[in-house]
């Protein structure tokens, strides 16, 4: 087996993705530099950026916007690393940034890239959901170096595969080819395996792209808007008008708050937050319907969500028919308890979603 390069978009590293790489061969973790990529000569005009720069909130790491908009620079650096390490595969974070880096790296290397894989076998056969998650394909790559963008979920389920025998959640899949045993037992010493990826100053045409401003992007509530949130938690009639549990979990997840028509009609939520036939149509990664029975009018606005969780007291609520996870119970207990559980998990690290929508 050859070397496997894993691009980490988080300096705190990503053990799960490293473990997945480990099942394939020896892993070299590559971290992006934390410092600014461009010097003043590349900034549009001195001073114009300064005040607008958004300092990431404490505890949150986000990719340098200068890197984010120039995936080609990362791809170039990776191509050099591939040559240097004679790598057989490159693993990149799933999402737009990872896909773009992969696409340009593939072009440089004359290789192919598979995006959003959920598992990779030792023979470098990748499992990838397609057709909006309604089908799973298995693909292999020819060419000198295989490039994948990896969904975090895959690594997680592969890690747990040995112990819990996997879950049947959509979006995760068992790891074909590589047995769980070869996965779970791979010890990693982060400090020795992770090195910084040296980025060159951007060449043309990437240099022609310049940032004008970076601004915080949150609503007055401090929450993201319905259009851009990866997670939406919507409140319905079942909240009885008390939206605090919904907001509590939303803030724990950095999620947007939505509402059903019933909640809007009752005056509990602003009409701009309405999801449904007569409100907004949303397609988030995850939609949590809290106290919403799921009339067809509401479903019309949210069934494009990749994952749906429903919490309702009524076990016959139609929303359960389309939910990936349905919870029959009191949202006023479950939502705050979940938020608390997430706080306890605070030490756990995941990939940054900041710029990867």
């Amino acid at each position: 087996m050859g070397q496997i390069l894993v691009l980490l978009d988080d300096p705190a590293a990503d053990p799960a993705r490293l473990i997945l790489g480990g099942s394939l061969g020896q892993v070299i973790g590559l971290r992006l530099p934390a410092g600014p990529l461009v010097d003043d000569s590349l900034a549009p005009s001195a001073g114009s950026v300064g005040d607008d720069w958004l300092a990431p909130p404490a505890g949150e790491y986000c990719l340098d916007p200068q890197v984010l908009i120039r995936p080609g620079v990362v791809a170039q650096a990776l191509a050099q690393a591939v040559n240097q390490y004679q790598a057989v595969a490159v693993l990149l974070p799933a999402g737009l940034f990872g896909a773009e880096v992969g696409a340009l790296l593939a072009l440089e290397l004359g290789s192919a890239v598979v995006t959003d894989v959920t598992a990779i076998s030792a023979e470098l056969v990748a499992t990838k959901p397609i057709m909006a998650g309604t089908a799973i394909s298995e693909v292999s790559l020819t060419g000198p170096t295989a490039i994948f963008t990896v969904r975090y979920a895959a690594t997680s389920s592969s890690v747990t595969a040995g112990s819990t025998n996997g879950t049947d959640m959509a979006g995760s899949a068992e790891l074909p080819g590589a047995g769980p045993a070869s996965v779970t037992e791979l010890p990693l010493d982060h400090s020795s395996n992770v090195t910084e990826l040296p980025l060159d100053r951007p060449a043309r045409p990437a240099a022609q792209v310049e940032i004008i401003s970076v601004k915080p992007n949150k609503l007055a509530s401090g929450r993201p808007g319905l259009d851009q949130a990866s997670i939406i938690i919507s409140a319905g009639r079942g909240t009885g008008g008390d939206l605090r549990p919904v907001e509590l979990l939303a803030d724990a997840l950095g999620a947007a708050v939505g509402a059903s028509r019933a909640a809007v009609d009752a005056g509990w939520a602003d009409p701009s937050l309405q999801v449904g036939q007569t409100g907004k149509t949303v397609n988030p990664e995850l939609y949590i319907a809290a106290g919403i029975s799921g009339a067809i009018q509401h479903q019309a606005g949210m069934r494009g969500a990749k994952l749906i969780v429903a919490i309702n007291q009524d076990p016959d609520a139609p929303i359960f028919e389309i939910a990936d996870l349905g919870i029959v119970g009191d949202l006023a207990e479950i939502l705050p308890a979940t938020a608390a559980a997430l706080r306890r998990e605070g030490t756990m690290k995941g990939p940054c979603h900041g710029y990867n929508r």
Partner: protein, 741 residues
């Protein structure tokens, strides 16, 4: 030639000249409008004439307000007969003893004149009083006269009052001049003459006659000049224009223009949007987007509007807003933003269309963001008669008369306005024409509608559900309903096609209704089949929102499929499907007998094939929401009541607005499919239902069902909202219990 004669003849000449010029102007303006579909406005002339005369003599539509109807009838008749007194007065300028040749000595004419002068006096006094009372400022937008040009109306009323008084006064003096021989002719006015000192000389009396005659002539011709200079003064012009307007109504039998809509027509020809050879210039002129698109009949109708406000008074959108505005709010719901807009614009004096000083009320008109059919008609009329350097769009745009999109898209096409209009203005058709332009040409409409259109286009239903889910509603039935194309090949094998409709197929409440009806049909041995995945929306949401292209695609495909399957009798549970299939599919070669389920169930009960017993759950009092598209558009309000009456122990408690005067749930006209910050009609209607104290709110249309049940849930009320089919199913079941929804 005396001075009186000179002045009198001059004003006569001026008056008639102005009138002639204006009539010419009207004719020119009407003729400039595009043609209507040939025959659609002039076919069956005898029927039309009969219908017009019926309306004219019987005041059918005005009779909703009996006092006003009587007063108006008398005033109207007095105007017709008293025209002759104008000629009389003209003669009296030259000869105070002038009498109309032949007519003047005819006793019956004299009595008729006297009778109608007094009747006209009484009538106009009542009308003045009604306008003062119903238009009192305290009512604000709740008044039907809110936004009308009140001073124009008062001027017209004052003219009539002055004329009838002058006629009576003149006759009083004439009776003195005529001496005892004329007593019979002046039976009711001679006493006026006796008020004059008996020793007055004939010369003095003659001077009185000439003076009063001149006054009468001045009053009459001043009116003629004023109205000729003010073509937008429908309150005066309806005296003339109502006749041709009623005669050219869409329905030759004189019924309001409701039910099915007319096809899309440009220059008198139906436009086939599938025709690849369609001229590019025609594509610019679909629907009504500019003044030039308004047909001659549109223009005639706009000029006829008297601003009486009957349409405004019954408009559910306007009612909903004004009810929240004035009086103690029956609900604790927040005042919708549109309400505030009316309030502020009403308070701000000085406005666009206000050519007289009725200012504060009239100004709300075009600038308003709340739909009033009357103000919409006024705005269009101002477009037609106003002069602007550049033509401006009727909807949106910068014109001071432009109709705002909020107003245009607020309409639920419930038809209350059209049914109430005494002079035959066809508001719904007009609004649809405006919407057609917005959708087909301008592509400018509420964003939510775009989703509905896409869903209809891709999935053939407004919710965007998948065709393979079409039969989900039938899960849980006690039997397998035959499916056309699956279990049976032709509809000849069954009595009826049950057109389940999109709500019946996909909406939870609609599904319950569909299942209830299927069980009832099965129990009573009625053979029927349903459509499978080929079923598609009937097209009502597309047509009522102006998307004629989408409607034509859906309707022609459906009609072809139904014809091929041999459909003859179709049962529907949706009032909108019923209307569209029965009244609009003939435009696509589909001719069916479409039966609403309430009708069929009432018949089955009547025939003893279904035997209702007591309802369980302590349901005693039921109130019934008449769906607009059943009760008003299709005049079917008896069957549901017969059906309710057949359930022992059940009492129907009617809401204030019921039957063909029902109040809209807010779901029609495509309003089911998108939402804005406008008024919540369903909530208001639900409050009205709750106020009856009934144990249950029954309805017979899935749209009403959805809107009202949503409103019930919002209000936190436990008043159940059910379809009549569910009621009947419960009543025929041993327990009398209703199934859980």
């Amino acid at each position: 030639m005396n001075w009186f004669g000179l002045v009198g003849l001059t004003v006569t000449a001026v008056g008639w000249t102005c009138l002639a010029l204006r009539v010419g102007g009207f004719v020119h303006l009407f003729r400039a409008g595009p043609a209507e579909l040939p025959g659609s406005r002039r076919g069956q002339p005898w029927r039309r004439t009969a219908a017009m005369l019926h309306e004219f003599l019987a005041h059918r539509r005005l009779s909703r307000k009996p006092l006003v109807a009587v007063a108006h009838w008398l005033t109207m008749m007095s105007f017709l007969v008293l025209v002759a007194t104008l000629a009389q007065a003209t003669g009296q300028l030259f000869n105070p003893r002038f009498e109309l040749p032949w007519l003047g000595h005819w006793l019956i004419y004299n009595w008729l004149t006297e009778l109608l002068a007094w009747a006209g006096l009484g009538g106009i006094v009542v009308l003045v009083a009604v306008r003062l009372w119903a238009g009192r400022a305290r009512l604000g937008p709740a008044s039907r006269f809110f936004g009308s040009h009140q001073w124009r109306a008062r001027y017209v009323e004052a003219t009539i009052l002055a004329v009838v008084i002058l006629v009576l006064w003149l006759r009083g003096i004439e009776s003195v001049l005529a001496g005892p021989a004329g007593w019979a002719r002046f039976a009711t006015t001679a006493w006026i003459g006796r008020l004059y000192p008996p020793d007055l000389s004939d010369a003095v009396l003659a001077a009185w006659v000439s003076t009063l005659a001149l006054a009468k002539i001045l009053v009459s011709y001043a009116w003629m000049v004023v109205v000729s200079l003010t073509p937008t003064m429908g309150v005066a012009w309806h005296r003339f224009l109502a006749f041709p307007n009623l005669w050219t109504g869409r329905d030759p039998n004189g019924r309001p223009a409701l039910g099915g809509l007319e096809a899309l027509v440009v220059d008198g020809r139906v436009v086939d949007l599938e025709d690849p050879a369609l001229d590019e210039s025609v594509l610019e002129r679909l629907g009504a987007g500019w003044t030039a698109d308004l047909t001659w009949r549109d223009r005639l109708a706009l000029a006829t509007c008297t601003e009486c406000g009957r349409c405004q008074e019954v408009c559910p959108v306007w009612q909903c807003v004004t009810a929240t505005l004035s009086g103690p709010a029956a609900s604790d719901t927040a005042v919708p933003p549109a309400t505030a807009a009316v309030a502020t614009s009403a308070a701000a004096p000085g406005g666009p269309a206000a050519s007289d000083t009725a200012a504060p009320l009239a100004t709300a008109a075009p600038a308003s963001t709340t739909l009033s059919p009357k103000l919409l008609v006024s705005a269009l009329r101002d477009h037609v008669f106003g002069s602007e350097p550049e033509p401006s769009p009727l909807v949106g745009g910068d014109s001071k008369w432009a109709i705002t999109p909020e107003v245009l898209w607020a309409c639920t096409t419930c038809g209350a306005c059209t049914a109430a209009c005494p002079v035959g203005v066809e508001h719904v058709d007009q609004i649809i024409e405006l919407r057609r332009h917005q959708v087909l040409v301008a592509a400018d409409f509420p964003a939510g509608l775009g989703t509905t259109f896409r869903n209809l286009e891709r999935r053939s239903n407004p919710w965007g559900m998948l065709p393979r889910q079409r039969l989900d509603w039938a899960k849980g039935l006690s039997f397998e309903p035959p499916v056309l194309g699956q279990t049976i090949e032709s509809l000849d094998q069954v009595d009826y096609l049950f057109w389940v409709g999109c709500a019946g197929a996909f909406d939870e409440r609609g599904q319950t209704t569909a299942r209830a009806l299927a069980e009832l049909l099965h129990q009573s041995g009625v053979s029927f089949a349903v459509l499978g995945e080929q079923a598609a929306c009937c097209g009502d949401p597309a047509r009522r929102t102006g998307n004629e292209a989408l409607f034509a695609a859906l309707a022609s495909a459906n009609a072809d499929y139904l014809n091929q399957a041999g459909a003859k009798r179709i049962i529907v549970t949706c009032a909108h499907c019923r209307n569209t299939l029965a009244n609009e599919y003939s435009q696509f070669g589909g001719h069916y007998q479409v039966i609403h389920h309430t009708e069929l169930l009432a018949d089955l009960i009547n025939q003893g094939r279904l035997v209702p017993r007591n309802l369980g759950d302590g349901i005693v009092q039921v109130t019934y929401q008449d769906p607009c598209y059943l009760a008003r558009h299709n005049r079917q309000s008896a069957a549901p009541r017969r059906l309710l009456g057949s359930i022992p122990g059940l009492r129907l408690t009617e809401m204030a607005q019921s039957g063909d005067r029902t109040n809209c749930c807010g779901g029609g006209g495509g309003r089911m499919w998108w939402e804005d910050s406008g008024p919540r009609l369903g909530q208001r209607r639900f409050e009205q239902a709750a106020m009856t104290g009934a144990d249950m709110l029954a309805t017979a249309c899935p749209f009403c069902h959805i809107m009202l049940a949503d409103a019930a849930a919002t209000a936190g009320s436990d008043l159940p909202v059910r379809d009549l089919a569910e009621l009947v199913l419960a009543a025929v079941s041993p327990s009398g219990q209703m199934a859980e929804v």
